[in-house]
Amino acid sequence: MALLQISEPGMSTAPHQHRLAVGIDLGTTNSLVATVRSGLSTVLLDEAGHALLPSVVHYTADGQIEVGHPAQLQQSQDPQNTIVSVKRFLGRGLGDIGDTNHLPYRFVEMPGMVQIETRAGIKSPVEVSAEILKTLKTRAEQVLGGELTGAVITVPAYFDDAQRQATKDAARLAGLNVLRLLNEPTAAAIAYGLDNSSEGIYVIYDLGGGTFDVSILRLTKGVFEVLSTNGDSALGGDDFDRRIFCWILEQARLQPLNPADTRLLMTKAKEAKEWLTEHASANITAVLSDGEIVNLTLDQAEFHSLTQQLLNRTLAPIRKALRDASLAVEDVKGIVLVGGATRMPQVRQAVTGFFGQEPLTNLDPDQVVALGAAIQANILAGNRHDDELLLLDVIPLSLGLETMGGLVEKVIPRNSTLPIARAQDFTTFKDGQTAMSIHVLQGERELVTDCRSLGRFELRGIPPMAAGAARIRVTFQVDADGLLSVSAQEQTSGAHANIVVKPSYGLSEDQITSMLQASFTSAEADKHARALQEARVDAARLLEAIEAALRQDGAALLNDEERTEIAAQMENLRNCARQEDSDAINQAVDALNHATETFAARRMDASVRQALAGQSLNTLEL
């Protein structure tokens, strides 16, 4: 019989505590949540035993919000208030979405991101996505029986900065602590047990509901290095449905349809597509609202010819990704299929034909992304320490700046390994100029109009000088989530000019607060309660991080005086956190951060030193 471990009263068990962390696949069609339990990554089921949560949100007539299967049932009856495939609109303007005629929504053009008018008011795609994430968060907390430490949320590798930022905003709105945004193909690679035993070049072919991604990875001893990525953020399984839908309209010679009939036939098209995965032909029958009966038969050969052009559109990004990685088809050791749409036989045939080998398909293509995200979440939450697994991902699209004549100058080339930073110098063109605007673009083309505008960053607080005298160094930093931040510094004035840089997209702190408040009743009291709650969570996280750092390196890297100072600031923060003043807590957090700056730098130096220790010490000691 195993002996029970009993800890001393007051002795913390924190270091061994298993932190609840999940991986979330926020998909166009379906979303999933997974976690690592007893060393195994598993998808969490809802009460009815479903793994997949349809990414559908319904705003009901009586002011409720339904998510998933119940919402899906309302698609045909209440299409304008039932938002399907919201991921296609995340971080996108109306112009990016393309043809909206087949969509039943009332779109509202807004700067930065399109919004949708529903009976519950005008909703941002961020808010709609947050409803899906909230549902998954609740599911996870119910199944796991505790509050989540954090989540890894997956995004298509080909998502640009605005789409990534919107995803992160949605997670914040859902009350999730985002450990990392992880690219879907990379997540799939992890899940595929491409573990320490697999080495070589792998291609991940990810055809989701609304996006197509291809990533090429090199695996070496637990290091997953993304060499290149490419894709088409407006191509997915939904397009195959739409081909069938258009075919139905053509065959049945139908007049323009009302929203309910459109939705009905789109559903029939989707069912036919799924049926054709395992059957030679599909019957499509429907009764439209005016009583007209549709009765058609679609066979596989016809379906293949309808969608041949879509399949070809997936091959061009593969060729480009191989070329960017300087690789040939023969160098590829394995191909992983991701996304429900890869179940279609013609997709498998096309992939096999292109690579001259059968793809790996032993994991459920719907679950593989969430399973991989859960593994990464478990590592990032600190539940595994013996780990060698490391992901090195890349930026999918080049970042550039607008220059004279509407041209784009590349600042960060695509497929650069993250994190990456680049500095660029600017000057003023007017005497006494104190502000300037920098237009940041993402894409590969030469003209501003052909790239996606990420918005203008405003630089304010430039010290007034003669025209051309200021030397402003602007640094573009892309972090491990693939998110851009811009900072600026005036070089000549000597004084550390505090230049404020603000992007014109993404949600501001105020917008997030007001969206959060909209879901509460008594605004003012909640605002304070929430600020206090957030400050306490920050304080607890910081204290835990510093305690862990001190346990490891406090004795070796700090002298008595430094240790005393840090201990004093920690005590101060603990005291403040017991009081009710969120400002005081935030100040104490800042003070503790300040007191540990040197310690952080020394710890980093020590780990760099250790990384190559014993290998070539003589060169290192130079």
Binding site: G150, L179, R180, T220, K221, V223, E225, A316, R319, K320, R323, Q376, I379, L380, A381, G382, E388, L390, L391, L392, S416, T417, L418, P419, I420, A421, Q477, D479, A480, R541, L542, E544, A545, I546, A548, A549, N593, T596, E597, F599, A600, A601, R603, M604, D605, S607, V608, R609, Q610, A611, L612, Q615, S616, T619, L620, L622
Partner: protein, 177 residues
Amino acid sequence: MFNIQQNHFELFGLPARFAVDMALLDQHYRKLQAEVHPDRFVAASPNERMQSMQWATQVNEAYRTLKHPTSRARYLLQLQGVDTEEESNTAMPADFLMLQMEWREAVEEAFDDGDVTALDALLKDMREQAKILEQALADTLDRQHAWQESADIVRKLSFVDKIRSDVELKISKLEDE
């Protein structure tokens, strides 16, 4: 004390030479990233997260510089205080200019014909030319320490790099159609 500003070769524990053991470079790169990458610091204090991002950025920058022959040679010359003047100095020997012009003409012709195979063949020629220049650099940089001569070769190599990336862009344009 380690310093984030130290030179790229020191960072990877490699001798400052043009001839680099690529396997060792890759291996040390991964070892360093395994220590400093932001994924290792998700739960750490904001200071450590900031440090981690700066270090990981620097390690990536250093790796990228040393991995590619042209940037590695340029960087070695920079350490010697030699500017390769790639923007300002466009003087080239006549035979090299002739080769450039021939390539440009052949590339335009193949592109107008939509001939990807011909473009691929041209890319292969260019890769071979680049290899010859890289071999010359190994000699002028590592053995002769002939910095000015090396700078001349880097300028040529950077011409070849540019036309190669032009061809790659053209191929991808053709494949899009």
